[in-house]
Amino acid sequence: MNSIISLSVLGVLVLFLGILKKKTWLLPLILVGLLASLVMSVLHWNMNRSLFHNMLIIDNSGVAFSSVLIFSTFLIFMFAAQYYRKVVRPLDDIYAIMIFALVGAVLMSYFGNLIMLFIGIETLSIALYVLAGSHKEAITSNEATLKYFLLGSFLSGFLLFGIALIYGSSGSFDLYAIHSYVAEHAGAGLPPMFKAGLFLLIIGLLFKIAIAPFHFWAPDVYEGTPTLLTAFMATVVKTASVFAMYRFFSITFFGIHGVWEMTIAVLAAITIVIGNLTGLYQPNLKRMLAYSSISHSGYMMLAMVAFSGRTANALLFYSISYSIATIAAFAILILVREAMGNDYFGSFNGIAKKNRIEAFTLAVAMLSLTGIPPLAGFIGKYFLFAAAIEQGWLWLVIVAIAGSAVSVGYYFKPIIAMYFREDNGIVLQVGRPFRISILFLTILTILLGFLPFLLSGLI
């Protein structure tokens, strides 16, 4: 709760600073504010209480999730200075909207009532519509925001319909109330209206996570959105939605599974196949990362399918490993794009020669996303696979590993380009904070791979 307040205040402060034209103060303030919020968020550990008539439920998983979200945002802001360094105006609005989006995301990880979920999602979405289009003169950015907005608002209609049906059958928006309704009807089978509502609600969330066939927006929007914000989208938004979904399931369907499992399993399988296969043919890194993020959504659904006490932790670990690797990849992408003007793989040719740290960062990120031990990505994947196998979803795991095998095909493209192709002689212009940040990400990726127990037993 404190973190929500502090973040909101931070956002407003940022706007004020913008009005006061204090450009240089912006980023330090944001970073400090985010850190403070992170601390506040972490301080809620073991608080375990519900606030405002169950509007918010502060529990450990929520604390962990929201901390991850704030942390990821913090990392992304670390790269903001570099990304926007040629922009003269204060950018307070963009930063403020990012922080407001984060507020929405944090709400999604604490919600105890569908109203809060709805408001959280909408805060996040509206902020993202704006962010996607924030590069106004670029036609791709325009297209991204249009597509995202149209599809997003369309799907939020379904989400609302689903909420309405759930309300109609269970008589409440409160998660615990819904849970008691579900528990009551679990034996005789849930009434169709509730099921319809449930699935429409899930579909609304699946859209945000970019699960096939609701993933179509993702590649286009990711490609069109300004790169820094794409990183935000691919990490914070996705993990927030996955967490929201987990939260919804874990409370309302506590102890009762099976209603949604098969559907999500099939969708996850389709997502993995489509994400990986399509990713294989992409000529540029940004779009490839979009498909990568789609396929990773599919992997995360494995945990959802194999729902158990360890799901939260598996998701947490996976999303952290995924987020740091993806952010690192986007960070390097920002650099290369700045130097070369595009994100085609050809731009990466031979950059390893003169930019060892940057190339190494991207390589580690790619390897982690592929799931090569002993990097964090592997441990994350292992948790998911283990969970799925434990629950008997062997076929799904087979699909997942087939996907992983295919994914080597595209994750290695930048590695091959950077290390093995002819040098194109560019030297990336990197500031010190930026370099420290990417090093930090790399070390974190390796460290989490070697010391996964730091996070594995958390929730």
């Binding site: 569908l114 408001i119 509206i126 249009l146 907005f149 149209l150 369309f154 309405a164 309300y167």
Partner: protein, 105 residues
């Protein structure tokens, strides 16, 4: 005014479903982004009515509160949406959704 006793709730449900479907059809067949947004608003309104009906029939104010929030959000959404359309119109002089398809494959 004894609507609740004279009209079965099923009527409301079916009415809302139809309205919702018309909204969906509108989204699917129209090319004008503005009309699509209107269709989306129609969908949302049908949901609003559905919630209000549930709320009224079960004598629970929560549903109507939710409708209130939906309206809030819808207003915000429309504001943003229209801003986006204006933005796009500035660059492409059209708000036809099929004009913009540079990003693909």
């Amino acid at each position: 005014m004894n609507t609740l006793t004279t009209i079965p709730i099923n009527h409301y449900l079916i009415f809302c479903s139809m309205l919702f479907s018309i909204g969906v059809i509108g989204v699917l067949i129209k090319r004008n982004a503005l009309v699509i947004l209107m269709s989306v608003e129609l969908m949302i309104n049908s949901v609003n009515l559905l919630l209000a009906a549930f709320s009224a029939y079960s004598n629970d104010p929560a549903g109507q509160i939710f409708v209130f929030f939906i309206m809030v959000v819808a207003a915000a959404e429309v504001a943003i949406g229209l801003a986006i359309f204006v933005l796009i119109y500035k660059t492409t002089h059209s708000i036809d959704i099929d004009v913009l398809n540079k990003l693909k494959w």
